[in-house]
Symmetry: C2
Subunit: 119 residues, 2 copies
């Protein structure tokens, strides 16, 4: 039940595409992740995902459009919707999603992280 300082937590890691758990509630997890470059197209069959941009700018491609999400903006990607995150420059994101969410969803590849650190 300690409070969490986002900047302090972000200072603890520098790797990309590797979410860290910083909070848990109601079966959901709060994660921080730094992204740079292109991710893989994927979807989550059962989990909706919230991406809140802390620092930088996130590009989120959908099959029918592209959204740019900036600092202090968030987007909710519903389950079943294919999406591909990317970022030209490093972006820091806070995620809210069910604890069961796998970062690459229905795809298993070199980006897949099935065990996440708690920081």
């Amino acid at each position: 039940m300690d409070k969490v300082n986002i900047e302090q937590k972000l200072s603890l890691f520098s790797d990309h595409w590797s979410p860290k758990i910083v909070g848990e509630l109601n079966g959901q997890q709060v994660k921080l992740v730094k992204l740079k470059g292109e991710f893989v197209w994927h979807k989550h069959d059962n989990e909706d995902e919230l991406f809140f941009v802390i620092k930088g700018s996130l590009k989120m491609e959908f099959r029918d459009r592209t959204e740019i999400i900036k600092e202090d903006e968030f987007i909710i990607v519903p389950h079943g919707v294919e999406h591909k995150p990317s970022a030209d420059e490093e972006v820091s994101i806070m995620l809210f999603e069910p604890a069961a969410t796998l970062n690459t969803g229905n795809i298993i590849n070199e980006f897949t992280k099935d065990v996440l650190d708690r920081i």
Copy 2:
């Protein structure tokens, strides 16, 4: 699935202690609320609550201690834990909690909001 800009949403209301729904996912809701003054001691028997401070400073009293949560910090209050939020100056908060969460928890009084606006 539109993106949400926090500042824009905060500009749409000025009342205190009246959470507005700005997103829903996995049975949870994302709410924005402005607080000023003292709230009531209460607890939520079944819901954990996350308070993320967007602007200002939040005082959260527990029966055994007090936490000050500042901008870009969050605290998770587990279900069953009595707490009393307050703020000397207006503070803007993002809440993440189950859709069923009543703002005053186990207490019904003049602060209770059982129907929330979506903005």
